[in-house]
């Protein structure tokens, strides 16, 4: 399938060639939660892909031909078509590839998942702010409070629905779109933010049983090693944990 064990490409690197027939390429970074969404979908749907990791602190000039602002993730197919924004990329994969559909077929159920995604929009920013605050030795009580409020909204949904997952009793797209930030709660030092949300904790446990989630789970020590280097502005942070 797609090996995510490749060193990141930085300034001065040779631009990659065209995407081989039968594969789709994702420009990624091993620890990025947005790219993580797309990697989950690629794996969940069994899509043959290759991964090119980008050094986000030292981006190759050629990468701006893939994304105007050099962001990840970006999908590139063998017709040179580029798709970005993580949610758009995930939906594209679900539409373009056969087999297991991650979004429901029913238009109302699809709309429900998209409405749920709206409920989630503050979470990425808040978790990142907490991480930065903690890493810089600052207080983040207000941020954690705000994050807990967001989690309460999600808790309410699960309680009201009385289902294990956000889309029903089986894992589906919305769960994969939420997951990367919940996987990071522990390593960011904010796992206590789900102390008051039991249904959400059950969901986390259920997600950890999912084969796709498991296969992409990032080792805690490696993640911590990355974070340490990242906050020291070390140029090799993004490749932490790779075998030489």
């Amino acid at each position: 399938m797609g090996e995510d064990a490749s060193r990141s490409l930085g300034k001065g690197s040779v631009p990659p060639g065209p995407v081989p027939e039968g594969l789709i390429r994702i420009y990624s970074m091993r620890f990025c939660p947005f790219a993580h969404r797309t990697r989950l979908v690629l794996l969940a749907k069994g899509i043959s892909h290759e991964i090119i990791n980008i050094n986000l602190r030292n981006k190759p000039d050629w990468y701006y031909t893939k994304h105007p602002f050099g962001q990840i993730p970006v999908l590139e197919n063998s017709r040179c078509q580029l798709i970005y924004e993580s949610v758009i990329a995930c939906e594209y994969l679900d539409d373009a590839y056969p087999g297991r559909k991650l979004y429901p077929y029913d238009p109302y159920e699809r709309a429900r998942q998209k409405m749920l995604l709206e409920l989630f929009y503050k979470v990425p920013h808040l978790t990142k702010e907490c991480l930065v605050a903690l890493r810089c030795g600052k207080e983040c009580c207000d941020l954690k409070l705000a994050l807990r409020e967001e989690f309460c909204n999600l808790e309410e949904i699960l309680s009201y629905q009385n289902t294990v997952f956000f889309g029903g009793d089986c894992i589906s797209m919305i769960d994969y779109l939420f997951w990367p930030w919940f996987e990071r709660l522990d390593v960011y030092g904010i796992a206590d933010c789900v102390n008051h949300t039991p249904a959400l904790r059950l969901w986390i446990d259920a997600m950890k049983q999912d084969p796709t989630v498991c296969a992409l789970l990032i080792d805690k020590n490696i993640f911590l090693g990355f974070l340490n280097l990242y906050f020291q502005n070390h140029p090799d942070a993004f490749d932490y944990g790779l075998n030489c």
Binding site: R79, I83, A89, M115
Partner: protein
């Protein structure tokens, strides 16, 4: 079909009954650009619907059961299913009513429309800021920001070499972004598309579209609404009725 000119319902009003068989209902407000997206799609696809206008300056208590955020547009079907967020309502309609598809069938072309939608996303808050701006300097600064955003859209049309954002026929993305361009003239922001000729041509082409022109609000009426709206008048939403 649509009674888009009905007086708005406000606090103390009786909640509307169930949605009649064969119709879909949109909770709307005559001058709301977000709700206009949904009404454009309903019209373009020929979907039988009823419009219930909400007085956004004096909301009925029952409306929060339709949308806890109290915002329009909201779709309600006769199964009692509620769909909120304008872009989500538009996509729902396109999927639930398969005739006259507005989104492309090709997954990449569909993704492109969503990427253009993201490119456009800074425009609505800019219009909001412009309406609330107090000084000439503020307005001048915001106009410059508009020009920057419009340049991004100009680039899309330049690269695609088509009249509309999805190709040579009007499609979903054009309807999704149109309401804010409709308001440029009334807001005296037309100068902001002076340096983006393809965008200017697109605006002209959009005004000729039968769906767009059927739902067009004239500049004077919009200005009358806006004056009352920024003063938080409870009469604003029914201006012109």
């Amino acid at each position: 079909m649509s009674a888009g000119s009905a007086k708005s319902l406000d606090k103390g009003s009786a909640p509307p009954g169930p949605v009649p068989q064969g119709l879909i209902r949109v909770y709307s407000m005559r001058f709301c650009p977000f709700a206009q997206r949904t009404r454009l799609v309903l019209q373009a696809k020929g979907i039988r619907h009823e419009v219930i206008n909400i007085n956004l300056k004096n909301k009925p208590e029952w409306f929060f059961k339709k949308n806890p955020a109290g915002l329009v547009p909201v779709l309600e079907n006769n199964q009692g299913q509620l769909i909120c967020e304008s872009a989500i309502t538009c996509e729902y309609l396109d999927e639930a009513y398969p005739e006259k598809r507005l989104l492309p069938a090709d997954p990449y072309e569909k993704a492109c429309q969503k990427m253009v939608f993201e490119l456009f996303s800074k425009v609505p808050p800019l219009v909001g800021r412009f309406i609330r701006s107090k000084t000439k300097e503020d307005r001048s600064g915001i106009k410059e920001e508009f020009r920057q955003e419009f340049s991004k859209l100009e680039e899309v049309l330049t690269n695609k070499k088509t009249t509309f954002f999805g190709g040579n026929s009007i499609s979903m993305i054009d309807y999704l972004i149109w309401p804010w361009f409709e308001r440029l003239e009334a807001l005296e922001l037309n100068e902001c598309i002076d340096h983006t000729p393809k965008l200017k041509l697109w605006v002209a082409a959009m005004r000729k579209d039968p769906t767009v022109s059927a739902l067009l609000t004239d500049g004077k009426t919009f200005q009358g609404f806006l004056n009352l709206y920024v003063q938080n008048s409870v009469e604003a939403c029914d201006y012109g009725l």
